[in-house]
């Protein structure tokens, strides 16, 4: 009897804190959510962007392999973003293109264009956990961040790389995610992700991602130009370099349809 009352009281308190977080002391879940609400809101309004991305894949013996892609992105109101990725290297996949409409709820829509046979193929977006071009980045590591994709747990405050940071745990809502959880360090000054730890389905530490060389574009939007993903289980790593970032380049929906997939630029 007493136990039931206590649980009810806790549930009631949680409901209140979820609806009026500013009034009562927030739960760790709400605090984590609030931090990422702020992260997201500071990045609203970027419109569209173009950039080149180089990936340097390294194995445990230090052998390197290069990937080069061009990415166009278009912000969507009330839904996930649209993006078009055209592969440039390795050379045998040059011209291969990947079109993605990400959604805040439900699976993303994805198409792949294979230039050798001129074929556009709709592909399943269930493969989130698979590696992107043989790198240590999974497909889901590139999908646009949406608040509704995670549950949150605020772990505390911690200094990372000389910056005061919030440390927040994220639990993917999607059953097909390759992760049980991620731990993210977000700096208090600009609300930018500084470091992410990824835990695999067995809840063992799988990868660590670190962000460096943040630059501000359009006087508002920050992008890290260098990212490094280290896989602790297989000893491989992938370094990501972003170049030629441009915002508000005039891209519209017409640059993100199935015809655009087949174009060369």
């Amino acid at each position: 009897m007493k136990l039931t009352i206590t649980i009810k009281a806790i549930l009631a308190a949680m409901t209140i804190s979820a609806t009026s977080a500013n009034v009562l002391a927030a739960t760790p879940a709400q605090q984590g959510m609030d931090i990422f609400t702020e992260v997201k809101s500071r990045d609203i309004g970027w419109g569209d962007s173009k950039a080149d991305m180089h990936m340097i894949l390294s194995n445990q013996h230090g052998q390197k392999s290069i990937r080069e892609v061009k990415i166009k992105s278009l912000e969507q109101q009330n839904d996930g973003d649209k993006s078009l990725t055209v592969f440039d290297k390795p050379r045998d996949v040059k011209g291969t293109a990947f079109l993605s409409y990400s959604h805040t709820t439900g699976p993303d829509d994805q198409w792949l264009y294979m230039p050798a046979i001129k074929r556009v193929k709709r592909i399943s977006s269930r493969n989130k956990s698979g590696p992107f071009m043989g790198s240590e980045f999974a497909f889901e590591d590139f999908s646009s961040f949406e608040l509704s994709k995670y549950r949150y747990n605020f772990l505390g405050e911690e200094q990372y790389n000389g910056k005061e940071c919030f440390k927040v745990e994220q639990f993917p809502v999607d059953q097909n995610s390759g992760y049980t959880r991620r731990i993210v360090w977000v700096d208090k000054e600009n609300y930018l992700e500084q470091k992410v730890e990824f835990y695999d389905r067995k809840n063992a530490l799988l990868k660590t991602l670190t962000y460096t060389d943040y630059q501000q574009f359009s006087g508002k939007f920050w992008r890290a130009l260098s990212l490094n993903m280290v896989n602790h289980q297989n000893g491989k790593s992938t370094e990501l370099k972003w170049m030629n970032y441009a915002f508000n380049t005039g891209l519209t929906d017409k640059d993100f349809n199935r015809n655009a997939l087949k174009r060369k630029n």
Partner: protein, 404 residues
């Protein structure tokens, strides 16, 4: 000269555009490669090459673009030299075309390749380009087709309108070549239903759209049938096959439903020629198991069935070969740095005792090389199955490509 008027239009377009070439971005890429085929048995005819077939190919691509990519020209020639089969040594312009991107429309003018369809084992609805029958056995290599294509992007889908001036005849293995029937297809004996012959202007219109999980396409085509009728003829003291190209009217439909790990696929055509009308379908699914044994590898399982109404009547008719065929496949993608992939497939004709086993594997070597392995094994004890004539042509092919 096929489509002479068309080439004139192309030349005028080229000249009128060349004023802006100064501001053009130029780039090139491509591949060169060599293929070695090893046939397990000697051919059925003593004229055919023995166990080894060697060829070399080059396939560069030149690309110019201006106006921030709204205008571009692409040129992609292809040449294969085959040491053992003169008919397989051939030059083709896969692409030489101009593209203009407008607000919600595109104009494509020139020699191009255009692919339609969703299934893997048979490409029923894909009819714009002629098959380069001699270049690869699976029929996935196509000859460039002259076309004017206006593409209109609407809220309710993409509408493509095509005018196709000029026709390409299919390529076939020569007398010394393998993977052919007992009679050689003679390219100097070709006839057409249309009095315009190769110059017949074909037209097509296609609508395609994505609605939720569904990708849909439907089209109408009017013009020269890409599939020739092969007719045995006596020329002097020699029996050969001559090609006859009829006119056809065709409607086609392709649907893919992307539901979780399953891709459900359906293609159907209705073709009407002066000799017969028929329906055909290709339907099946592709299931992908992501993360095989907790690794990065994916395993895909494919199953498709072919049906052709011509098989319901005369079982010796052309379409009877695909009247009731089942295809099973399994695709392993390691998702490693070298992009290693292996596709294992088997096709079985359920009416005529005939099966074909195939293995296609590929792996990148270093940064710029790629190795492809291709195996085909034919089994047939029924003379009505086309693979009966290929029963001595089991082969293993290894291709090494260098990309630049």
């Amino acid at each position: 000269m096929p489509g002479t008027t068309f080439y004139k239009i192309l030349a005028i377009a080229w000249l009128s555009l060349s004023w802006s070439v100064a501001a053009t971005d130029f780039s090139y890429s491509g591949k060169v490669g060599t293929e070695q085929r090893y046939f397990v048995d000697e051919g059925q005819s003593s004229h055919q090459l023995g166990n080894s077939q060697l060829s070399f190919f080059i396939n560069p691509e030149f690309h110019w673009q201006w106006n921030d990519g709204d205008d571009s020209v692409i040129f992609q020639p292809f040449y294969r030299y085959d040491k053992n089969d003169d008919e397989r040594s051939h030059l083709d312009i896969r692409e030489l075309s101009y593209l203009h991107v407008g607000g919600d429309w595109e104009l494509k003018l020139g020699i191009r390749k255009e692919y339609w369809g969703v299934t893997e084992f048979q490409h029923l609805v894909d009819v714009l380009n002629q098959t380069d029958g001699v270049d690869s056995f699976d029929g996935e290599q196509k000859l460039g087709q002259q076309m004017i294509n206006l593409s209109l992007v609407k809220d309710w889908g993409i509408v493509d309108l095509y005018v196709l001036p000029g026709f390409r005849e299919r390529t076939f293995a020569g007398e010394t070549g393998r993977l052919r029937g007992p009679l050689v297809v003679d390219k100097s004996h070709v006839s057409y239903e249309s009095s315009a012959k190769k110059e017949h202007i074909d037209v097509a219109a296609r609508w395609s759209h994505s609605i939720g999980d569904f990708d849909l396409g439907a089209y109408w085509f009017h013009g020269t049938n890409r599939d020739p009728e092969l007719i045995a003829t006596q020329v002097g003291d020699k029996s050969i096959l001559r090609q006859y190209y009829s006119q056809m009217e065709q409607v086609g439909l392709d649907i893919q439903a992307t539901k979780g790990d399953f891709l459900w696929k359906f293609e159907s055509i209705f073709r009407s020629t002066n000799k017969q009308d028929f329906w055909a379908t290709q339907a099946g699914f592709e299931y992908t198991h992501v993360g095989l044994f907790d690794s990065a590898a994916d395993l895909g399982l494919l199953m498709e069935h072919s049906w052709d109404s011509r098989g319901e009547g005369d079982e010796n008719s052309a379409g009877a070969t695909m009247q009731n065929d089942l295809f099973l496949g399994s695709r392993l993608s390691l998702n490693d740095v070298q992009s290693t992939e292996v596709l294992l497939g088997v096709g079985a004709d359920l009416e005529h005792s005939a099966t074909m086993l195939m293995i296609e594997a590929s792996r990148r070597l270093g940064e710029s090389f790629k190795a492809n392995l291709d195996v085909r094994i034919f089994h047939s004890s029924d003379m009505r199955a086309p693979s009966y004539y290929l029963r001595n042509d089991d082969y293993l092919g290894l291709t090494i490509e260098w990309y630049f």
